[in-house]
């Protein structure tokens, strides 16, 4: 585990550096605040409506699909390392796994989930 020391130190150094830089800016500059400056930027208009508004369900869908497929990649990684050792049986298992995923992928493609222009087909 000792090799992870570098990672931990790296996290600490980067965090401290970021905080110090942010803090230094608040100390070095003069602040003259007014109401207009403190409201959300909307091209010079007074803000209308809420920023917490409904957004395109497509973004949500992409995130869900990403979760599934990223997990798939994570499952493939052990095979990538031990695959040579596991021989033909390992390869067959991998191809089966991939086949199931490809079926899922084709299904979502056919459903139009990957078509950004027509979320109404869902």
């Amino acid at each position: 585990m000792i090799e992870y020391l570098g990672v931990i130190v790296y996290f600490m150094v980067a965090t401290v550096l970021g905080v110090v830089m942010f803090w230094a800016a608040t100390q070095c500059s003069s602040q003259r605040l007014d109401l207009e400056k403190l409201t959300a930027y909307e091209c010079g208009y007074d803000a209308f409506g809420e920023a917490r508004s409904p957004f395109d369900v497509g973004f949500y869908l992409v995130a869900i699909l990403f979760l599934v497929f990223d997990l798939e990649v994570a499952f493939l990684i052990p095979w990538a390392l031990g695959g040579v050792l596991s021989g033909w049986a390992g390869l067959a298992a991998l191809l089966l796994f991939l086949a199931v995923l490809v079926v899922g992928f084709v299904y979502e493609w056919g459903k139009g989930a990957l078509d950004w222009n027509s979320p109404e087909t869902l």
Binding site: L5, V9, A14, A24, S29, E42, V62, F66, V73, D115
Partner: protein, 309 residues
């Protein structure tokens, strides 16, 4: 031991930040040359001092905390983004001597930190409580996670070839032939993914000036903005270095007789080459449309990669 590691870490972070500073200058000068104009050339020799004055200016600007923002999140988001852009460097072998921490799961670590990078942007867009920031962050996050998928698959394929997830082993495997030659289709997709992952042109939709003004960081001024900016360019350098490590033989010399030169030099040269390509692409290509971008990422890249595998 800890002190030694600390020195090592600082010896990576400080040059990296300097590199970021000069990369901004290089980008402006190179793009200027490509578009037949000058670029910044007044301060120092040929504009060499320009990045430092830029940094100083940003330091002296007025930091603004929007009244509607979620303030703790708003302040931590740039720090988190900065952190994730730096932390991935821990496992990269930047010289022949190896990395700060030579992890057996080095490439996994790189992918993991890359995924974490999304959180900083998500936080910034959400905490700003501004429409432009929110839309920019939605786009940015959807784009980044979409292209992380092909990225993961590419790294996986190289791991199959090298039979290891360790960066050092990966580089050693390329001692005789760079992965770019046998795996060139992967290399092409990898470059596209890098461009999308770092939100660079032609995939810089999250910050499309004409429609979203600046994307997720629109509410940030002063150092908050600077931290996002540094993180973006540090990510660019990170991606270039990873490209050199994965496909261009990393610290290895291109010819065996040239191996008396240090590995760090070769890595730097290769990284610079890739960085130059990034700038070149930005100066050359127009921006993609968002639906085209997502379709490209999900269908073309994913299918091509699954077949490759």
């Amino acid at each position: 031991m800890t002190v030694y590691v600390l020195v090592q870490v600082l010896a990576t972070v400080v040059p990296l930040l300097l590199a970021v500073a000069f990369l901004t200058l290089v980008e402006r000068r190179v793009m200027g040359a490509m578009q037949r104009r000058q670029g910044p050339n007044v301060w120092g020799f040929g504009g060499l001092l320009q990045p430092f004055f830029d940094g100083l200016k940003l330091l002296l600007k007025e930091p603004i905390l929007p009244s509607t923002a979620d303030q703790p999140l708003f302040m931590w988001a740039p720090v988190l983004t900065f952190l994730t852009s730096q932390a991935a460097w821990a496992a990269l072998p930047t010289s022949s001597a190896g990395a700060v921490s030579d992890l057996n799961l080095g490439t996994m670590y790189f992918l993991a930190i890359g995924s974490l990078g999304v959180y900083g942007i998500l936080l910034a867009g959400w905490a700003s409580n501004s429409k432009y920031a929110f839309l920019g962050c939605c786009r940015s996050v959807a784009q980044m996670i979409s292209y992380e998928l092909p990225m993961g698959l590419i790294v996986l394929t190289t791991a199959v070839v090298a039979n290891s997830l360790n960066w050092t082993v990966l580089v050693e495997t390329q001692q005789w032939v760079w992965f770019l030659l046998p795996l060139w289709p992967l290399g092409v997709i990898w470059m596209i993914c890098c461009l999308a992952e770092t939100n660079r042109a032609p995939f810089d939709l999250p910050e499309a000036e004409a429609e979203l003004v600046a994307g997720y960081n629109v509410e940030y001024s002063s150092m908050g903005f600077a931290l996002f900016f540094i993180a973006e360019y540090a990510n660019l350098i990170l991606m270039s270095t990873v490209t050199s490590l994965l496909f261009l033989g990393g610290t290895g010399a291109p010819l065996a007789i040239l191996s008396f030169l240090p590995g760090a030099l070769w890595l730097s040269l290769k990284t610079l080459l890739v960085l130059f390509m990034f700038v070149w692409v930005r100066a050359t290509l127009p921006r993609y449309r968002y639906d085209q971008l997502m379709t490209l990422g999900w269908t073309v890249c994913a299918v091509a990669l699954l077949f490759m595998l």
